[in-house]
């Protein structure tokens, strides 16, 4: 991931402008879209659902932009808070409609790249998603926020209610699991 632009200059003032100026919101959108999408992929694995939920995140952010106080919370942290709500609603919805258990299959199914996209999906990407899908919920969330959302441990701690040191330990152990899983598939050594 190209993260050269990870820190957005003047983000706070841009977030304030975005309350009334769609162009300012568009700049925030451009900056965060890739990260929110990658977070969704780590959480969901299914590309189509990740697309849909990513759109929901930004729509909600746009609708609720007046609730965001840039002086209290950075825009990125606020946005990933919304992303977590969207994920939560998605899982709750899956539980509600039992017959949609095919969604679970679709997520599983979607890990196998369709042939027309095979050339753009590296083996590493597919294997990582397969391995991440086997982590427990908390580990998966933290890996997603770290590598998808590019958040630091303090930001992740604020979102998840964990301590920063707990986040670090969980991430460290999860990465060891992922590496071991990848090695059994002959990818990472």
């Amino acid at each position: 991931m190209n993260t050269a632009d990870l820190k957005m200059p003047n983000e706070q003032s841009l977030a304030q402008q975005a309350q009334a100026d769609p162009a300012a919101f568009a700049r925030l959108y451009d900056h965060y879209l890739r990260r929110v999408y990658n977070y969704m992929r780590y959480r969901l694995t299914d590309a189509q659902t990740a697309d849909d939920l990513t759109a929901q995140v930004f729509h909600r952010a746009w609708e609720k932009r007046h609730n965001h106080d840039p002086e209290k919370a950075p825009f990125g942290a606020w946005l990933f808070g919304i992303a977590r709500h969207v994920i939560h609603d998605h899982y709750r919805r899956q539980k509600r409609f039992g017959w949609l258990s095919l969604d679970v299959l679709r997520e599983r199914f979607s890990l196998t790249p369709p042939p027309e996209e095979a050339f753009i999906q590296s083996e590493m990407q597919t294997m990582v998603l397969q391995a991440v899908a086997r982590l427990n919920e908390r580990e998966r969330e933290i890996v997603a926020l770290k590598f998808g959302g590019n958040l630091n441990n303090l930001q992740i701690a604020e979102l998840t209610g964990l301590t920063s040191s707990n986040v670090g330990i969980i991430l460290y152990r999860a990465m060891k699991q992922l590496k071991a899983a990848m090695e059994t598939q002959g990818v990472s050594k």
Binding site: L6, A23, Y29, D30, W78, L105, F109, Y172, M175
Partner: protein, 293 residues
């Protein structure tokens, strides 16, 4: 160095990698295992899944205005909504309610019609400042072999023996809560056939659209029910803006097929994966169902 210290250092290293993937640890304090873990993290730090996004062109091409970016799919969905509306209109005309009600008397309630063709999403939670929210774990559906699933299930698990050309068994899942076994069959272009098996006493009817057509069929001399179509997410518009999915609409024209029947106290559901046309007719699906052993 204890685990907490290692974890703290590792997190800091990842943050460095996410800022600059070419970043290198300046000293040689890392042992081989830690260095290997850092190398693995370096590989993950450069992963970008957005190339797989259907929005990828937009992701890669920054917008000049938020309306264009957020809501670019408006035209396509407006067209789709118009098509669905026309289709529903035709169906309302052609399917006379009393006739359908009469036919319903002979069905087994393996499917249940929703009151309309739209399933509303749960209402938004008003979002102020985000607060930590526990996220429920998704239903666990582990991979199994057929014999492992058979050992776990309270009934004798059956499998399809006359699969269409090119299809093979890909995955087997067992839902402990519902004592339900699911087989996924795929062909080499990743089209899917799904077979569910579950006890009738705990099996639930599948919800379908109000205008869905339930056809009474026979599967090896046993009454069954067949439905063509599926729920699909739609994107409502707000002030000309396409937004996230908040409801689903039933579409009879989706190639998704579902065949359900009950045999020896087990409800079997044979379906194709949503949105994929496998080229199977209703008769083909029934013939496939009859190969169950």
């Amino acid at each position: 160095m204890n685990e907490q210290e290692k974890a703290t250092r590792f997190s800091s290293q990842i943050d460095q990698l996410l800022q600059a993937p070419a970043w290198q640890q300046a000293d040689d304090l890392l042992n081989d295992d830690d260095q290997a873990l850092l190398d693995f993290a370096r590989k993950m730090a450069v992963l970008d899944f957005s190339t797989q996004s259907q929005f990828r062109r937009r992701i890669q091409q920054p917008t000049k205005g938020v309306n264009k970016m957020l809501f670019a799919r408006n035209g396509r969905y407006a067209l789709a909504a118009l098509g669905v509306t026309l289709l529903l209109l035709v169906m309302m005309i052609t399917l006379i309610a009393p006739v359908r009600a009469f036919a319903q008397e002979f069905l087994q309630s393996l499917f249940v019609r929703h009151e309309s063709n739209t399933l509303a999403a749960e209402p938004y939670n008003p979002i102020s400042d985000p607060t930590p929210t526990p996220i429920p774990a998704p239903e666990s559906v582990p991979d199994l072999s057929i014999s492992e699933a058979d050992a776990l299930a309270s009934f004798a698990v059956k499998e399809l023996t006359n699969l269409p050309a090119g299809f093979t068994l890909s995955s087997v899942y067992y839902d402990q809560e519902r004592d339900k076994v699911t087989f996924l069959y795929l062909n080499d272009i990743y089209q899917g056939i799904v077979l569910h098996q579950e006890p009738a006493e705990t099996a639930e009817p599948w919800t379908i659209g109000a205008d869905a057509v339930i056809e009474a069929v026979m599967v090896g001399g046993i009454p069954g029910e067949y439905v063509h179509g599926s729920w699909q997410w739609v994107k409502p518009t707000t002030e000309g803006a396409v937004v996230g999915s908040t409801e689903e609409i039933w579409r009879n024209d989706d190639p998704h097929q579902q065949l359900r029947w009950t045999q020896d106290g087990i409800v079997y559901t044979l379906s194709t994966t949503v949105g994929q046309d496998l080229g199977l007719t209703q008769a083909d699906l029934i013939s496939l169902a009859e190969s169950l052993q």
